[in-house]
Symmetry: C2
Subunit: 185 residues, 2 copies
């Protein structure tokens, strides 16, 4: 029985980024500072300890680039074990709970998914679309029940959630079409 791996957004981001190409903590920091990936922290106080702990787990390995320097730049790359872990995280089905409680983690998983190939990306998107549509229905039900005892802005905030989730479902549909087209070529 495979152990269920839980991982924080920051750690998954690090894992995914070093999987694309080996890089240092500082490189990662820059990525977080300059791209939308930065939603998953940035501060050295988070990145360096995370690198240490991932290394301790044996998922990444850091090697000094310039041995003569006092504090040489550590370049981290994925180990075989890290590769397996990353794949198993990306392969996990997209559940209702993921969508509600860890949406950012879900999108992050998708951002790295193409290393598993197109079929996996499509599988992910289909699950994502299904769960999003189910969640929209659930939110609409709540809206129906609570309409009365909600303040105007409370109702509008709920409306934002409904429309946002609906948008996500539509995005998934479009993405599926796009990836299917690529497949055929």
């Amino acid at each position: 029985m495979k152990k269920d791996i839980t991982i924080s957004p920051l750690r998954l981001a690090i894992l995914g980024l070093v999987a694309m190409h080996p890089q240092s903590g500082y490189d990662l920091k820059k990525v977080f500072e300059t791209t939308p990936m930065g939603n998953f922290s940035s501060s050295p106080g988070a990145i360096y300890p995370a690198l240490k702990s991932l290394e301790k787990k044996g998922w990444i390995r850091g090697e000094p680039e310039n041995t003569k320097s006092l504090r040489p730049r550590q370049v981290y790359s994925l180990t075989d074990e890290g590769d397996a872990i990353l794949s198993s995280v990306l392969e996990k089905p997209v559940t209702h709970e993921d969508l509600i409680w860890h949406f950012d983690l879900v999108m992050l998983r998708f951002a790295f998914i193409d290393r598993l190939g197109n079929e996996q990306a499509l599988r992910f998107l289909r699950e994502f679309q299904n769960e999003s549509e189910a969640y929209v229905r659930h939110l609409e039900e709540i809206r129906g029940q609570m309409q009365q005892n909600m303040s105007p802005s409370g109702r509008l905030a709920l409306e934002h959630g409904i429309q946002g989730t609906r948008g996500s479902a539509r995005w998934a549909q479009k993405a599926i079409e796009e990836l299917s087209k690529l497949e055929k070529k």
Copy 2:
């Protein structure tokens, strides 16, 4: 000079909910379990310590409902100080940083904003719309720059962010129209 108050989503949710009407920790727990507000935690291990700490700060006050019981139900209500704090949090301008780093907190602020009146709600929505549109432009710029060195799914994930933010801006526009209509009546 007014001190800049930072508050966690859970604490703001608690403050806003007891502001609507006094209630116990257990009542709050149920709200978190049964409404979309539940995004901001739920576990007793978070709620009860948060209540204690808010009480210690003097923002809420708990009073036992049934003094004869061994562990009487504590009903919390907002103090005058808590009322002032809540208002000052809701009055804060919607900044670019808020939008990027604390989006959930921003929506939560909006959900409770009508206690400040319609003009404040409209002010909030205008700021929200402006910042959202600016962020869309920023993301589009990034998309333009990175198009090449991004994987298909990475690009699609970015696309999700752009479309989601665009959706938020549109939502704000609609909400402004709706609240303006209410105003006139």
